[in-house]
Symmetry: C2
């Protein structure tokens, strides 16, 4: 098979106007950005409001391994498969961050014959949404430090007299809004800002700060959860960026910067329309993390897609304990739309890796033994798949397992796995998915099974409702969701619970930030662990996004570059084409 | 008169496709980005190569005052005036930085009836070029810190064995590549990066660093000076980002990041086409500072404009000692195209402010007395205008003075000033320019005078040639250019001259980074100072941009936000329109 970028370059694509028109958009409802991208106006939602919404299919996966299970390939492949069956379908995916593109893994556009194209446009800048998030985020950060500087330099009274503003009296040690950058830059994780040459204070007041990667910005979660521009504006205004000396929360609205932030994100609220290699319309929008945020593409993109077609295929980050859980408990409660069917992506190698019998490291070559028949490993790893099937059913969402086939996979093991799934008591369906090698023709069986499950009448129930206490909501996700035996809150977390309650932040969703490498909070517990404890170290308020996230262990919000970063392969050839992107 | 944004919103604009087609571009030579912006492909240059180039008009000004002389208004107004006279004309301006838009001054799109429209699209994000510069710049910064980290963490030998790369042995105290952000954020001027929790080194190694505003990036100067994509790529590879422990320069090519940086700027190399309120095509491209860089729009935009029309109107930053000087000595030597005519913008209030009789501060209200007749102040300030006329003529470029009229201006003083200019021995022409109030109809006289001067046969000579020594080049600008009596190099600067020479960086242009508020390096010396000393504190190498810049005093490369920043006015109204941008 050709490399991804070659497949992409040798495929003839339609102009994005053609794709948009075929999808049912009017000329006035999209703005082309070059030949293959268009911004879709939210105006189309008004026109299409009377139309019946299509079915929402959420692609999730078994517990991820360093090998990659091919969730985006399956998402794009399934959308193409549904289109082969003559359905109107739209895929919705997250915008890839440029940090990892330059850092480790290259692009994130699917692969093989199930890609979003052109992949270089998807992976680099796209239509500037992440840059707009970065700009809006850092504007608030600059506003905080400038306000501290002027208030302290002039004294509160003088500041108020001169500016006509009310002093916010921000405690510089309690600024909770870091800066962001769309790069893997570990040197920025912990920085000191506001440093001065000796004896001067012209650069502000020194304080400890740090940078996250832009995808970790609360604004990215807000972009993904807002229902419209007004909602975006209001959510931005609710962000708590710091606390005053007296402990009062300081918001972007208090800083009078919320309006400017929304202005900066005015174009970012419009999803970007692209196409798959087989011409299936694909909306790319937002890219929140699936640990400290909810890890799903935007509500706005889904809403547009649901009105345009019979089927909308989208994906949640990591396994079903992560992106899928958050899609059900956070996203669905914000949008009012639950998934009609979940597709659980599993691979032979991924299941065997989940057995715990292999020691795999990111970036290291895959041991050949993983491709040999290993019944014991498959059976051990199968527990993990079974857990994810049960987990999906727990929410009342019907499931289809997509076995994403790799060329080295043994026919015998594939048959075995299929039989094991079919033998389960759940009403689960299974199909082998060959989207990578065969595009939509390789996923027709999967598409048919998905259509079947979409017809099962929904009994969707989230694990909690927003009016429960934060503690009850945390317990619901940990115990009912993960199957934990207990939840242990640290003293800090207990204090924070108290404080958030007092300050009126008790009607928010909860978002558990834990390792994706285990269903538990301990990455080394493979398979389907039970009875474990979920230790909650600290809580973080995202009042704008509408959730409190709970840190269960270390979560990296600013990756670093490896010894030999992916950027070393990138360059332009003599004709100005990008080389080295994969 | 209506506020700028209202004038802009109530003007009916043509679609950018219509503008592009009228300007002479083929459909395949531009990509629309929404209704009013288009990226112009450099491919058009090949097709248009046989066509005769038009005339290049460079708008400059007297020494700037806190009042603003209206250089962009005159640039856009003149382009509109030339169009009224039925000439094919294109304006070329720099992309406004978002920092000042949110910080102090609001937008930078001209004003009144001489604006580039839509002004909110020009001022916010545009087509993402500054974001691309920022991303490429910070990628190199991340690459530097990651390389230092991995080499020091593993030791040079282990690093080489593991990665297969050659250790660069970068001295962390000699990293000369800061980070950038497109915000006014004084707290980032001096930062410590690579900080760790006690006892750990997972975030790299601590070192002192800082952020500049993105416009101050060497990449911005490179974008403005590159002749094509290949030149851009090569210039990027020549950037010196650090020195090794043994004092050897380390380039982006050494870091193997130059290719990825060029990839990140692949779309940024295409100028953005917009239009003025009267439908004159306007190319917006690059926005380098006019002190530490050369302060002019791009060579590529000029080259396209020169092929499209009879006249290209562009502007240089600050007074003719700054942007114009650098356009002649740096830009023209890189492009091979000299200005055919210079327009010197002067205002009554600006000339009187240049008398030194008034004490004006940025952001403070203008004293009424400045608008009363004040012959003495006008005569004193006139020396400054005369200096700029002589300065322009020094390069063999014919000049037209554009008196940019303000509503409060006295008819008597305008007549007086016009007569004073007409009485000069230089072959200088003068016209009152009313672009702000009347658009192209207010600049027809100016346009006619400009056309006359464009017919004068060129005797253009830069002040130096690149094969002179760096010291000779510095002397030429200071003594022949500014009329300084002497140049004093600090010990550091002398050492650096020596070092750059040894390392082969002796064929570069020079760029004096000095205050724009005086012709000298002392901002308090108003009018036309003579015999002053030019002290050169330090030299900075921009091997990619192709110049060495000389710091003559403090130059601020990261602005700060004022007590009451412009962002406080910005918001979205109920219909999602931007309010508060001016």
């Amino acid at each position: 098979m050709l490399p991804d970028i070659e497949i992409c370059r040798t495929t003839t694509l339609a102009s994005i106007s053609t794709i948009a028109t075929q999808a049912g958009l009017l000329d006035t409802e999209f703005d082309t950005q070059g030949t293959y991208k268009a911004k879709v106006s939210l105006d189309c939602l008004k026109r299409l409001a009377p139309k019946k919404s299509g079915k929402l299919i959420l692609v999730t996966a078994i517990t991820p391994t360093p090998l990659g299970e091919g969730k985006t390939v399956t998402t794009i492949g399934l959308a193409q498969g549904l289109a082969k069956l003559n359905h109107m379908v739209t895929a919705c995916i997250r915008q890839p961050s440029m940090g990892p593109v330059f850092g480790v893994k290259g692009g994130a556009a699917g692969g093989g014959y199930s890609q979003v194209a052109p992949m270089e446009e998807l992976n680099l800048h796209l239509t500037g949404d992440i840059h707009a998030v970065t700009a809006a985020h850092n504007l608030a950060a600059a506003a905080i430090d400038a306000r501290i500087y002027h208030e302290q330099r002039l004294g509160y009274d003088d500041f108020e007299t001169r500016s006509g503003l009310t002093a916010l009296k921000i405690d510089p040690t309690r600024v909770v809004w870091k800066r962001v950058m769309d790069h893997n830059d570990r040197a920025l994780r912990m920085v000191t800002v506001g440093k001065n040459e000796t004896g001067k204070t012209i650069n502000g007041y020194e304080r400890e700060d740090g940078f996250d990667i832009s995808a970790a910005s609360e604004l990215m979660a807000i972009l993904a959860l807002a229902n419209d521009l007004k909602d975006l504006r209001q959510r931005i205004g609710r962000i708590v960026v710091a606390y005053s000396y007296s402990g009062e929360p300081v918001t972007t609205e208090d800083l009078q910067v919320a309006g400017a932030m929304a202005v900066s994100m005015k174009e970012a609220i419009e999803p970007t329309l692209m196409q798959t290699l087989e011409g299936v319309p694909t909306l790319i929008h937002a890219g929140p993390f699936a640990n400290i945020a909810h890890g799903n593409s935007s509500i706005i993109a889904d809403n547009i897609a649901l009105k345009l077609g019979d089927y909308t295929v989208t994906e949640g980050g990591f396994g079903s304990d992560m992106g899928f859980e958050k899609a059900c408990n956070i996203k669905s409660q914000a949008s009012g739309k639950a998934p009609d069917c979940a597709v659980i992506v599993a691979t032979l190698r991924g299941l065997k890796a989940n057995s715990g019998h292999y020691d795999l490291l990111p970036g290291q070559p895959i041991p050949d033994s993983l491709f040999a028949n290993d019944h014991a490993a498959l059976v051990a790893g199968f527990e993990n798949l079974q857990w994810h099937i049960n987990n999906v059913n727990k929410y009342g969402v019907p499931a289809v397992v997509a076995i994403n086939r790799f060329p080295q996979d043994s026919e015998e093991e594939l048959t075995q796995l299929k039989a094991m799934i079919e033998a389960l008591p759940n009403n689960v369906l299974v199909a082998i998915s060959e989207g990578f090698a065969n595009g939509g023709n390789g996923t027709k069986e999967l598409a048919e099974k998905v259509i079947t499950q979409c017809e099962v009448s929904s009994t969707f129930t989230p694990l909690y409702t927003l009016n429960q206490t934060t503690e009850e909501k945390l317990m619901a996700v940990a115990e009912v969701g993960y199957g934990a035996g207990s939840v242990t809150l640290s003293d800090i977390a207990k204090q924070q619970l108290q404080q958030f309650k007092q300050q009126g932040f008790d009607d928010l969703a909860v978002c558990l930030a834990k390792t994706p490498l285990s269903i538990s909070t301990d990455g080394s517990l493979k398979g389907a662990p039970k009875g474990f404890d979920v230790p909650i170290r600290e809580l973080k308020l995202c009042a704008g996004a509408g959730f409190i996230y709970a840190l269960c262990g270390n979560v990296m919000t600013m990756p670093g570059l490896p010894e030999k970063p992916a950027f070393m392969n990138l360059d332009l050839d003599d004709d100005g084409n990008i080389i080295g992107l994969s």
